[in-house]
Each structure stands twice: as C-alpha cells, then as structure tokens.
C-alpha cells in the first residue's frame, strides 16, 4: 500500500512536486503517490488562501484514497483542513505540523519553533503552548528564499539565537527546511536536537503502513 502525498501548492514542475516523495523514499523506502491542489501557485500564505485550499485538500485526499493509497500525508506544517480531511477519508492521515509538534512535545524539554511565517502554525501552538518560542530566519518569508545561497546560513544563525535563549529542541514548521537539508546541517554545527517536519511525518507514515509499505517497494 502506498502513501498519498498532498502538496498544498500548485506546480507543474515535477521536481518540486516530487520533493517530499523523494525524501520519504530515500529515508524510509516509502512508496508514494503525490498530487497537488489546483490553482494555488503561491500555496497557502494567509487565512484566505487557506480557506480556499481546504475543500481542494479534502477532495484530493478522496481521490488519492480512490487511487489505492492506504494512508495520506498532508505535507504542510499548518495542517490546513486536517480535521475535515480525516473525517472525509477511511484511512489514517498524517500531517507535517501535527507530526513534528507531537515529537517535540514528547521530548518534554524547552522547544523553539523555526519557521518562515509570522508565528508558529496552529498545531505547534496547540501542542506546545500558545506562547511557544518562535523565530524565522532573517530575510526569509517564503520557501523560495531558503533556496538562496544565504538561506541555510541565516537559518543557522536563527537556530543559534533560539538555543542561546534556552531552547533545547528546535522544531521545524516549514517543509522547505527539509528540502535544503537543514536538520543535518544544524545537528553537525550546533549538536542540537532538531525535529524535521517531513522526516517526522515519514516516521509516522512508515509505522502506519507497517510491513506493507516496505514490501511494496521495488
């Protein structure tokens, strides 16, 4: 059984589309099927764009289940429409925000959230406290900023500040950090505890799909 991956930005660039599928295949041997919601090339960036996306996410989830997916991965740290999606499909649903926030909460040490928005997304505030420490790298307001040469260095500086202010765990609230390999980069330079949202989700997905996922891999 494969994992259905829901991307919340519209893209016709297959490399961008398959980014998280590639990470989950490499890390966990997960076989997956990725689709993106239509007509939102800028993804979800405010309340209006989130409201517009939610029915599309639910619809896409239904389609992925019809296509044979045994579990779904909503690949967005804000968990947009997660409760509605779960109510709409008969398979387990993992979401990047809940997965990462759960792991961080499980460790029960001071957590800081590293993201690109103006505040920690809802699942992080819900599980880690409304006043959970939060920061975003200087000059980074959208995922594409992370791909610039200075992206990782700025994220490193931001993580250093969060640790200096008492954080013991850095939890990512942006799946773009996974694309630039920020977790190993921070662990290597700062020796700190990092929770990567895509990797955390993959861990949940592989245990959910159990042996079946491993067998399904060629």
């Amino acid at each position: 059984m494969s994992l259905g991956i829901i991307r919340v930005l519209t893209t016709s660039d297959d490399r961008v589309l398959q980014e998280h599928a590639r990470i989950l295949q490499t890390r966990f041997g997960l076989q997956s099927l990725t689709r993106c919601i239509p007509d939102q090339p800028n993804g979800i960036f405010d309340a209006a764009s989130e409201a517009m996306a939610v029915p599309k996410i639910v619809q896409l989830g239904r389609e992925l289940v019809d296509a044979g997916c045994g579990a779904l991965f909503l690949s967005c740290a804000a968990d947009p429409g997660l409760a509605l999606l779960r109510a709409a499909v008969p398979v387990p649903v993992i979401s990047a925000g809940s997965a990462a926030a759960r792991v961080a909460e499980h460790l029960a040490l001071p957590v800081a959230v590293l993201g690109i928005g103006t505040q920690a997304p809802a699942p992080y505030r819900s599980l880690l406290g409304q006043d959970v420490a939060y920061a975003r790298p200087e000059g980074v307001t959208q995922t594409t900023d992370l791909l610039k040469p200075e992206g990782r260095a700025r994220a490193l500086a931001c993580a250093e500040r969060l640790l200096a202010n008492g954080a013991r765990v850095i939890a990512f609230s942006c799946t773009g950090f996974s694309t630039i390999g920020l977790a190993p980069y921070l662990r290597e330079r700062l020796g700190c505890v990092v929770v990567d949202a895509v990797d955390a989700s993959g861990m949940f997905a592989v245990e959910m799909l159990g042996g079946s996922a491993e067998e399904a891999c060629a």
Copy 2:
C-alpha cells in the same frame, strides 16, 4: 474508534492490566480496550516464551479488531510477532519497540538504549545499529525490580553512565520505565533527551486515530 492494547503478560490484576491504558488516556485522551495473552504469567523473557506468545498475540489482535478497535498497540519493546500481526489485521499497528526506536533514530544524535534485558531488543538494533549502546540498571532483570524503592535511583545511575559515555538521547526499551515515571525523573535530574516507549507509541496512536480518538473521549 478506540485503540486495542495487547499486553504480553497474563494478569488478572486489573491495575496492572490497565497501566498503559491509563497512561495513554491521561496523556493523549486515548480511549482504549486492553486485553492480555493467556497462560504467560511471566510474559516474554526468552526465545521460547516469545515463540509461544506470537500466535496468541496475532489471535488477540484479531479479537480486538472484531471488538471494534481502529488501531492496535502491541505494548512490548521487543515487537514480538509485529510483522505477522500487521499481516493479520486490516488496521494500523503500533508497537512500543518500533515507535521508540523510530523517534530516537529520527533525532540523528548518539543514542543509548536503556532496558532490562541482556541486550537492546531487535527493533532498536535494527533501526539504530546492531552495536547501539545499551545498558540495564544494576540489579534489575525484570519489570518488578523497577518497582522496588531503589529502582529509579539505579536507572538514574545507569542513564548517567550512558550520557557520560557520549549518548545524547536515552531510548527506553522497557515499558516498565513508563510505569515508574522514569522519563520525567531523568529529564528533571539530568536535563537529557529521553524517549519513553509507551509515550512514543501513544503519540503514533493518537495521530493514527486522528480526530476520532479525541471525539470518542467522554
């Protein structure tokens, strides 16, 4: 939908039987139904007792699904019969060993396993390396030893040694550590990263059962 909990030791003491159910209810609001395998009052302690338990575990899993459980939790760090159980039931199955080992592996820092057996159980060696650091507290060879007054102090001394030898993460491979509240005890005294096997499993279970589990709680 509730979580079916499989205990791998036979007990007629309802307090012992419901131990993990209570933890998961308190921590995650998870509604569950616990049953134990028959005729193994000493649980699983060697290869022969594991071989004897596996068909009973699979049978019990089927019964819990028939009773309406939407996911199963195999509450043993050795994951006895996990692959067979997963193949036998149409619902996701979490197991304490895999869950804890996955979380430890996700953090990608030096891990040491703390247990009560002679070596780290199979899922830990499989996910963290055959030579993963391992230790058990002095004088502790069965779960009941942990309940003695000196149980926690000895586990603390053991964790201190593991950290002094370079571990950054302590992963529990005994569910008895959850019963004695060892994770918060170690975090408070040593400030270290601890992965508790029952708590890690609960985190997977609550995300698997999604909103349904929360709604099901009275």
